[in-house]
C-alpha cells in the first residue's frame, strides 16, 4: 500500500518537473514572440540596444551580451579547467592521506558559498588587484572571468575528484607494476578511465558559468559595449536581464525573453549532454 502510494508520488513529481521544464520553455517562447517576429535571427548579431520612447518599440540585438557571456565564460574555463584538474589529481593521486580530508572539505565548503559573496569579494578585494597589475578599470571581462573561474573551480574539482576516485586501485597498481610513473598513470589510466565524468564536470561547470548572474553583475561592468581589450567592461545575458528587467517595457521585455530563451536552450543542451551522454555512459 505505502509502497504503491510512494511510487505514484515519485512518478507524479518526476512528471511534474518535466512539465515545469516544458512550461518554462513555453513561457519564454511565448513572451519572446514579439522580438522573434521583429528581429528574427538577426537579433543574434545586432549590437544595438535602444529603446524608442515614443512608440514603446526600439532596436534590440543580443550580440553584446552574447559575446560578453561567451568571453567571460571562456576566460573562466581556460583558468578553471587546468586548476581543477590539478586539484583533483593532487587529491586522488599525490596528496598524503592526512591532507586529503581537510582539503576535500575546504573545497566542498568553497563550492557552497553563495555567488553574491564571490561578487562582493571580487569587487572590493580582487578588482583593485587586477587593475593594478594589468590595468583597466578594475571591473571588466578579465575580473569577471577570473572570479567566475574561482567560483567554479571547487565544483569542477569535486566532481572530477569523484570521477577519478572510481578508478579501481588495482588498475592503477597494474600500471605502476609495469613501470609507469605517477604522471603516466594519471595520463594513461586515470584520465581515460574517468573521461566521462571529467568531461561531464567541465560541461556542468560551463553551464554554471554561462548562467551566473550575481557575481558577474558585480564584476563585468554592465556596459553595453563590445570589449576591445580583455580588461574592458561589457555585459552578459544574465546581467543584462537582471539590470534591465525592472524598468523595461513591451518590445524590450520581449527582447530580453529572447535572450533568456537563448540562454535556456544553450544551458539545457549542455546539461543534457553532460548528464545523459557523459555521466550515463560507461566509459571506453
Amino acid at each position: 500500500m505505502g509502497g504503491k502510494l510512494f511510487k505514484n508520488f515519485s512518478f507524479l513529481s518526476a512528471t511534474l518537473s518535466f512539465f515545469i521544464l516544458i512550461g518554462i520553455f513555453a513561457v519564454l517562447f511565448q513572451y519572446a514572440q514579439a522580438a522573434l517576429h521583429e528581429f528574427g535571427i538577426d537579433f543574434l548579431y545586432s549590437e544595438s540596444w535602444e529603446v524608442d520612447e515614443d512608440d514603446e518599440g526600439g532596436l534590440f540585438g543580443g550580440w553584446i551580451p552574447i559575446v560578453g557571456t561567451l568571453l567571460s565564460t571562456l576566460i573562466a574555463m581556460a583558468i578553471a579547467i587546468p586548476l581543477a584538474m590539478g586539484i583533483a589529481i593532487f587529491l586522488t593521486e599525490i596528496a598524503h592521506e592526512k591532507l586529503v580530508k581537510p582539503v576535500s572539505v575546504a573545497i566542498e565548503l568553497l563550492a557552497a558559498i553563495p555567488s553574491i559573496i564571490y561578487g562582493m569579494w571580487g569587487l572590493f578585494y580582487f578588482a583593485p588587484i587586477v587593475q593594478s597589475t594589468v590595468g583597466g578599470d578594475g571591473v571588466g571581462l578579465l575580473t569577471a572571468g577570473i572570479v567566475l573561474a574561482i567560483m567554479i573551480i571547487p565544483f569542477m574539482a569535486a566532481i572530477t575528484r569523484d570521477a577519478m576516485n572510481t578508478v579501481p586501485p588495482v588498475l592503477k597498481e597494474s600500471a605502476y607494476a609495469m613501470g609507469a610513473t605517477t604522471f603516466e598513470v594519471v595520463k594513461d589510466v586515470v584520465m581515460p578511465y574517468a573521461k566521462g565524468g571529467i568531461i561531464g564536470s567541465i560541461i556542468l561547470a560551463l553551464g554554471r558559468a554561462l548562467g551566473e548572474t550575481m557575481a558577474v553583475a558585480f564584476l563585468i561592468g554592465s556596459v553595453m559595449s563590445i570589449p576591445s581589450r580583455i580588461t574592458d567592461p561589457t555585459t552578459s545575458i544574465p546581467v543584462l536581464l537582471a539590470n534591465n528587467f525592472a524598468e523595461a517595457q513591451d518590445l524590450e521585455i520581449s527582447a530580453m525573453y529572447y535572450l533568456a530563451l537563448i540562454l535556456f536552450v544553450v544551458s539545457f543542451a549542455l546539461i543534457s549532454l553532460a548528464k545523459f551522454y557523459f555521466f550515463g555512459r560507461k566509459t571506453v
Partner: protein, 263 residues
C-alpha cells in the same frame, strides 16, 4: 660458493602495514628458483599477498609501511641487488620491468588490445614501431591469445571475456621480458575453462621466466608448481619441493592445511 639457481631470495624479511600494531610478515626466508614455479599457499590473511607485493615494491605506493630484512634480486649478470634499498623512481621502474605482476581480477587498461600490450614497451622507452609491433605479436602468441585477438587489435580491451582479459594482462607483462612474474590468485575470478587455459599458459611460461603464484586452490598448487611454501599467520611454516610438501610434509600444521582440516 653458491651455485646460483635462484632468481630472487627473501631473507629475514618482516613487514608491518602502516598503522598496524603487529607485523603481517615475520622473518620470512624464501628462495625463488630460476625458471621454476613457486607456489605460496596458506589460509586467507596469512600474508601471501603481502609477501608477493613486497617483491616488486608495489606496497610503496602507499606510505607508512615498515619492513626489514632483504629481498635480493639476482640479475642475469649475477649481480645481487637488495630491492629494499631502492629509492629512486628510475630504479623502481627498472625493478618493476624485471619483476612483473598479474592480479586477481583482470585489469585491462582503458585502451585498445594492441595498446595494452604496447604500453609497457612504450614506457620502457622503445620507440621503434616495427620492434613494438613484433613484440606485441610475440607476447600475444606467448600468452596464447593471438588467434582470438589478431583481427581486433584496435578494439577496446574491455570487450574481451574475463579469461581473455587475464591472458591479455599476462601478455602485457610478458612483453617486457621480465625475469620474474608474480601472480596473485590469477584464476580465482575465472571459470574452470579459462582457469585451465591460464594454468597451461603459466606452465609454458616458465621456460622464459621464473614464476611465483599465490593460490587458494590446492590442486592448482600441486599441478602447477615445482616448489611450495606454506604460510600461516605471517610465518613461513614450511618450504620445499611441491611433491614433498603435498605428500610428506614435515610440519603437522602443513599437513592439516593440505588435507583440508582448516583453511
Amino acid at each position: 660458493m653458491r651455485t646460483n639457481s635462484m632468481i630472487m631470495e627473501v631473507k629475514d624479511f618482516s613487514f608491518t602495514y602502516a598503522g598496524a600494531s603487529a607485523p603481517s610478515l615475520k622473518r620470512i626466508n624464501l628462495p625463488i628458483e630460476k625458471n621454476k614455479i613457486t607456489a605460496l599457499i596458506g589460509p586467507s590473511g596469512c600474508g601471501k599477498s603481502t609477501l608477493l607485493r613486497s617483491m616488486n615494491r608495489i606496497h610503496d605506493l602507499y606510505p607508512g609501511n615498515t619492513y626489514e630484512g632483504e629481498i635480493r634480486l639476482y640479475d642475469h649478470r649475477e649481480e645481487i641487488e637488495n630491492i629494499l634499498n631502492i629509492k629512486k623512481e628510475n630504479d623502481f621502474i627498472r625493478l618493476r620491468q624485471a619483476v612483473g605482476m598479474i592480479f586477481q581480477k583482470p585489469t585491462p587498461f582503458p585502451m585498445s588490445i594492441y595498446d595494452n600490450v604496447a604500453y609497457g614497451l612504450k614506457l620502457a622507452g622503445i620507440k621503434n614501431k616495427g620492434e613494438i609491433e613484433g613484440r606485441v605479436e610475440k607476447a600475444l602468441q606467448d600468452a596464447a591469445i593471438w588467434e582470438e585477438t589478431k583481427d581486433r587489435l584496435r578494439e577496446s580491451a574491455m570487450g574481451l571475456s574475463g579469461g581473455q582479459q587475464q591472458r591479455l594482462c599476462i601478455a602485457r607483462a610478458v612483453a617486457l621480458k621480465p625475469d620474474v612474474l608474480l601472480f596473485d590468485e590469477p584464476t580465482s575470478a575465472l571459470d574452470p575453462i579459462s582457469t585451465g587455459a591460464i594454468e597451461e599458459l603459466i606452465a609454458e611460461l616458465k621456460k622464459d621466466v621464473s614464476v611465483v603464484i599465490v593460490t587458494h586452490n590446492m590442486q592448482q598448487a600441486s599441478r602447477l608448481s615445482n616448489y611450495t611454501a606454506f604460510m600461516y599467520l605471517g610465518d613461513l611454516i614450511e618450504y620445499g619441493e611441491t611433491d614433498k610438501i603435498f605428500l610428506n610434509p614435515s610440519v603437522k600444521l602443513t599437513e592439516d592445511y593440505i588435507t583440508g582440516r582448516f583453511g
